[in-house]
Symmetry: C2
Subunit: 318 residues, 2 copies
C-alpha cells in the first residue's frame, strides 16, 4: 500500500493528513502557520509535520501534495502570488521536497478542496463536478472526468471572477461586477450591514447585540427566521446572485453536480431549496434533460488534506 | 488511410466533406437542406451526399460525423431540441447510419466548428481552446487537451448564456442578461438600429440608404470609420460586452487561445485590438503570467465539416 501526505496550507494553520492509496485518511494534525515567517521556516514545519505523522502511523510516504492559497505554478511548484500569505514567486515545492526527500506537487487550495470533495466527499459518485467555496472570496475548482482542470499555468477555475453585473460592485481583483463581490460570505456580511444601516427597526440589530460589526454570514438568515422583512430581502438577493453564478456554471460545464463549500452551507435546505428553484428557472434549456445536482460539501476542513494527497497521487500516476 | 465524412447540417445548406485520417479535406460539396421536410428525407440527402463524394474521390468511408444545430444527445445520436430546424427528439444518427451502413456520431454545430478550428484551423497549435461564434446567437465550443468537452448529455459549452448583466436584456433562452443578448451579431444590429433611432444625423443613416432595416453587423463599424460619434459609441459598447465575455472565459478556463468566429471577425484588428486591450485590463491577475491569445477563426465555412469528421475520428478511437 502506498501513502501520501496531504498538506493544506492556510493563513492560520498548516493542516496535514496521511492518505492511503485506497483513499483512507489514517492520521491528521494541524499546527499554526506563523505566516509572517520566511517561507523556508514554513516549508520546514510543513515537511516535519508530514514526517512526524508518517512516523506515528508507521508508514513510508510515496509523495506529498500541497494545497496553497494564491496563484500556483503547479508545473514548477512555485507560488506565483498569494495575497493571503504575502508571497511572490516562492519555490515552496522545492523547499518542502528537499526536506522530505520525496516528490512534492502543489496546487491552489480551492482546487485541492474540489479534488478532495470529488474523490472522497459530496462528489464521489460523479464524473464532472464544479466546486464553489463561499468564504472571504468565491473560490472555484473544476474536476472533469475525475481529473482536476487547472487551466494554463494553473490560472483557471477562477469561478468567483465571472461577471454578474457589468460595471457593478468593485471586486478585489480590480474588475467590477464579479460574482465574488456579490456571493462571497464577505459580500453577504456587507449586504447585511448595509440593510441594517437602512433599517433601524430590523431584528438583525438585536441579533447583533446592537453592534453592526457583530453581523456575520448567519445574521440575515437568523433575521429571516424571525420574520424580519429587511433580513428576508438580504437573503433573497444573496441567493439570487449565487443562483446566477451557479446557472453560469451549469450552462458552461453542465456538470453532474455543483458542490458548495463554506460556512453558509450550514444553512442547509434554507439555502439550497430557493437556490435550486432559482437555478432551475434560469438555466439554459432547464434541468430536466441534463440535470445538475446542487450539493453542499461533506468533508469540511478535511477537503484540502484529502485533495492535496489525491493531487500527488494523480501526478505520480501520470 | 482511413476517410471520414464530415456533415455540417445548417438551416439552409447541408455541407459535406471527406477528411482523411491525417487531416486533409479531399473533397466537399453542399446541397439545400429543405428544412421543412420530414427528417427522414433530410437524413437520406445527407447520407447520399456523403456517399457520392466518397465515390467521386474513390475512397471508402470509415465513419461519419454530423454537426447539427440544437441540443444534441451525442451518446444516442438524437437531436433533443432544435429551434433552427424545428426538431424535437429526432433520431438523426440512426437514420443516417442505416443508409450509410456505417457508424455515425453527432454533436452540436458550434462544438463541431470548435473542434474543426482546434485541429485544422486557428487553434491547431494549442491544447486548450474556447471557440465563440458571433452570429444570430453566441455559440460556444470547448476543446480541452485536444478533446471536445461537451458536458453532461452534451448540454455544456453554452458560452453565450453566461450572465453579463443580472436582470438585463431578455435573452432568447428566457433568462435576462446573457452574453448572447449583448454580444451576438443580432445584438450588435439591434444596438446599431437603436443608436440610429436616437441620432437622426448619424452617418449610419446614409450608410444604410436611409432604411434602418438595412443596418447589419458592419454598419456601426463603417460609421466609426467615417468618424461618426454615435457609431463609435455602438462599437465601443459592443466590444466592451464581448470583452467581458472573453474575460470570463479566460478566468474560468485560462485556455491557450480564445477563437472568434462569425462575420464580425472580418473587421480583423479593428475588432481585435480594442478587444485585447479591454480583456487584458479586466482579466484575473492580468495576462502576463498566463497569457491567452485572442484569434479569429481561419476555416470559415469549412470549420463544421472538418470538426464533424474529426468528431467521428475521435469517437472511433475511444
Amino acid at each position: 500500500m502506498k501513502y501520501y501526505a496531504g498538506i493544506d496550507l492556510g493563513g492560520t494553520f498548516i493542516k496535514c493528513g496521511i492518505v492511503s492509496q485506497d483513499g483512507a485518511l489514517i492520521i491528521k494534525d494541524k499546527i499554526p502557520t506563523g505566516s509572517e515567517r520566511p517561507y523556508g521556516a514554513i516549508a520546514k514545519d510543513m515537511a516535519n509535520l508530514a514526517l512526524s505523522l508518517a512516523d506515528k502511523a508507521g508508514v513510508k510516504l510515496t509523495a506529498a501534495g500541497i494545497g496553497s492559497p494564491g496563484t500556483v505554478d503547479s508545473a514548477n511548484g512555485v507560488i506565483v502570488y498569494s495575497n493571503n500569505i504575502k508571497w511572490e514567486n516562492v519555490p515552496l515545492g522545492k523547499a518542502v521536497s528537499e526536506i522530505l526527500n520525496l516528490p512534492v506537487f502543489i496546487t491552489n487550495d480551492a482546487n485541492a478542496a474540489a479534488l478532495g470533495e470529488s474523490y472522497a466527499g459530496a462528489g464521489k459518485d460523479f464524473k464532472n463536478i464544479v466546486f464553489m467555496t463561499l468564504g472571504t472570496g468565491v473560490g472555484g475548482g473544476i474536476v472533469l472526468d475525475g481529473k482536476l482542470y487547472e487551466g494554463g499555468r494553473s490560472a483557471g477555475a477562477e469561478i468567483g471572477h465571472m461577471l454578474v453585473r457589468k460595471n457593478g460592485e468593485k471586486c478585489t481583483c480590480g474588475r467590477r461586477g464579479c460574482l465574488e463581490a456579490y456571493a462571497s460570505a464577505s459580500a453577504l456580511i456587507k449586504q447585511t450591514r448595509t440593510a441594517m444601516a437602512k433599517n433601524n427597526n430590523s431584528v438583525m440589530w438585536s441579533i447583533c447585540g446592537g453592534v453592526a460589526e457583530n453581523a456575520d454570514g448567519k445574521t440575515a438568515f437568523d433575521g429571516m427566521r424571525a420574520n424580519d422583512a429587511a433580513a428576508k430581502k438580504v437573503v433573497n438577493n444573496y441567493i439570487g446572485y449565487l443562483a446566477e453564478g451557479i446557472t453560469d456554471v451549469c450552462n458552461i460545464f453542465r456538470p453532474d453536480a455543483v458542490i458548495l463549500g463554506g460556512g453558509i452551507c450550514a444553512e442547509g435546505e434554507t439555502l439550497l431549496k430557493p437556490l435550486k428553484r432559482k437555478v432551475a428557472r434560469s438555466v439554459f434549456g432547464g434541468l430536466k434533460y441534463a440535470p445538475v445536482k446542487i450539493l453542499t460539501a461533506t468533508l469540511g476542513n478535511d477537503a484540502g488534506v484529502y485533495g492535496s494527497a489525491r493531487f500527488a497521487m494523480n501526478k505520480q500516476k501520470v
